[in-house]
Symmetry: C2
Amino acid sequence: MFVILSRNMARVAIVEACRFVVECLHTAGANRDSAEQQARLLIQADRLGHPGDGVNRLEYYVNDIISGACEPNNKPLILKETASTAWVDAKNVLGATASNFAMDIAIAKAKATGVGWVVVKGSNHNGMAGFWAQKAAEEGLIGLAFTNAQPVMAPTRSKQAALGTNPIAMVAPASCGESFYLDMSTTAVDMGTIDMHRRNGECLKHGWAQGPNGMETLDPEKAYHTKRLYPLGGEEATGGYKGYGLAAMVEVLCGVSAGSRYGCHLKEWKLESDGTPHDIGHCFVAVNPNCFAPGFGDRLADCIQQWRDLDPVDGNLPVLAPGDKEKIMACQSDKSGTVYYVKQQIESSNCLAKRLQVKPMEPVKEAC
Amino acid sequence: MFVILSRNMARVAIVEACRFVVECLHTAGANRDSAEQQARLLIQADRLGHPGDGVNRLEYYVNDIISGACEPNNKPLILKETASTAWVDAKNVLGATASNFAMDIAIAKAKATGVGWVVVKGSNHNGMAGFWAQKAAEEGLIGLAFTNAQPVMAPTRSKQAALGTNPIAMVAPASCGESFYLDMSTTAVDMGTIDMHRRNGECLKHGWAQGPNGMETLDPEKAYHTKRLYPLGGEEATGGYKGYGLAAMVEVLCGVSAGSRYGCHLKEWKLESDGTPHDIGHCFVAVNPNCFAPGFGDRLADCIQQWRDLDPVDGNLPVLAPGDKEKIMACQSDKSGTVYYVKQQIESSNCLAKRLQVKPMEPVKEAC
C-alpha cells in the first residue's frame, strides 16, 4: 500500500502542484476561480492514489480550453427546478466548476427537503466521482455522484463499445472521524490500467478486456489497441451483464436524464482537441441521513469496523472497508505535504510549462 | 431463452397459482389483502423467470407467519417524514405489504417534490427488488429499490460472510412501451444457482464462490456447504472489491440508514423458522424524470435500441438491453396465461397444501 519512493518517482509539495495546475489553466484561458476548482480536483486524485484522474489529465483540459472545446469562463445555469431537483446546463465550463455548482444545489435541497437530485448537461470531464460525493459528506449528508463517459466498454455479447467506465460514487459520514467512501468505475479496470500493463509487459487478468475478434484477450498490446473493456464481472457467465446493467443505469441517470450526449454519441477524449464540445452528463444526489433512524454515524462506524475485523484469507492482507486504500494514501501524502509523480509525469509537465511559458512544477529536492 | 416444456416441468394458470399462494398465506394467518399483495410479488417472479424469488419461497413465508417471526396483520407506520423522505417501521409485516406501503409514499413524494426517498426497518424478505422499482415506473417515474439480506457474501480478502446478495434495482419508463429494467444482486450468482449446479453435477464458473479455506472453488458441493459467495467481479484482481463496495453501499442505504439489523447481525432465512423477527432494512427511491430534460422517454427508447443493435460477438446471441430476458419470459407466460414450475415444486406445494389443508395448486392438463 505505501508508496516507496523509487528512482522513477518524485515528490512535489501539494501547494506547488496546485500552483502549477492553476497557472497552466489560467494561462490557457480559465479565470482564476475555475482554475483553482479544477486544480483541487486533480491534486486530490493524486493525493488519494488515483493518478489517472490527476495532473496526468492537465494537458487534456488545457488543450480543450485553447481549442474552444471547453469554455471555462461561462456561467452554469439552472434550467428547471423543483423543491428537490434541478436540471443544470453547465454551459460547457470545466467539469469541476459544473460539478461544484450542481452539488452545491443538491446539498442545499437535501438540507431543505431531505434529498437533492441534480442532473447536468453540457459539461466536461469531472475527474474522480468520489470527490463530488465527498463534498456532500462534508456537510453531514450521504453524497452520490455519477457521470457518463466516452464509450470504451462493450456491453455483454457485443463487439462494439457503447458505454463508458461510467462511475458510481457514494460517500457517507460516520462517527469517530470515519466515513464510507466508494468510488468505482463499472468496468473491471480502466484503459489506464491496460496501458500500464502494456508498458510493463504484464499479462492482463481475466474479465478485463476484449481482443479485436470480440473474445477475451490477456495480451495488453491487443487490448490497448482494441479499446473495448469488459463491464465489471467480465464475460456473461461470470456476471458481466450486471456490470453492463450498472453502466447502463448510470447512463440513464446522466445522459438520458440530462439530455446531453449519451452512449455511442459521446466523443473520445483525445490529447489533441478538435474544438467541439464533449457535452457530458452528470448526476449528483445528496440525502440527509438524519431524516431516518437516529445514530446513523455510529452504526456506519460499527459497520466499517465489522468489515475490517473479518477473518482474512491471507493474514498479510487485512480486509479493508471501502475507501481504506484511499485513506492510507491520503494520510501518507498529508504527513509529508507532498504528492508523488512518476518522472515521466514531471517531464511532460515541464514540456507543458515550456509551451505555456509558466514556471515548471518543482519537485522536492530529496537528500541522497 | 424460451422455456421448453420438459417432462420435468408443469404449467399452472397464473390465476390458479395466485389462488394457491393467497390461500396458503391466509390459512397461515395473514389477512386476505396482505396475502394477495405477497402473491402478486411471488407470481411475478415466476412470470419473469426468477423462480428463486417465486412460489419456491412460499413455505418460508408460511412458516415465518405460523412461528410468529412475521406478523402479517400489523400496520406499517411512518416514524419520521420530510417533504421528500420518510422513515418507516414495517412493524414486521410481510415484505410485500411493507414495500407497497413504502414505495407508495416515495411515489407520492416524487410527484410533489421531484424525489421520494423512503427507508424501512423491521421488515421481512421482499422478493424481487425489481418489482418495487417497477411500481414507480408504472407511474411514469424512475424507480430504485434496494434491500439488505442475510450474510452469504465474503467481502474481498475475507473468509467470513458479512453481507447479503444485496440487490440493486432500477426501472425507468421509455417511449413505445419500452422500459429500462435492471434487477441484480451484487454477488455474481445467488445460493440458488450454486444449489442448481450441485443438483445437476455441474462445475461452477470462476468468481462465483469460496471453498472452506477461503480460496475459490469450482466444486458445487463444497461451495454449497461453505455458503460464501464472491461479490460481483470475483476475486480482488478481477474487480471483486467493486462488487463488495456495491453490496456495502446497499447496506448503508438500507440497514444502516433504517436502524434495522445490518451486516453480520442479519439472521439466516431458514425453512424452519425460529420465531424471532428478521428486522430487514429496505430503501425505495422514486424520481420524476420530467424534472429534467424534456423527451426522457424518447431518449431512453433510443438508448435501449442502440444496445440491441450492437454488433454481436456470436451471431446467434443478440445483444440484449437490461430487462430483455425478463420481457421475453413474461411475454411467453402471458401468451398462455400460465407460469412454469419444475415438478419438484409442484410436489412440495402439494405437501404444503396438505399440511395447511388448502386445495392443491392444479397444473394445466397438457395434451399428450
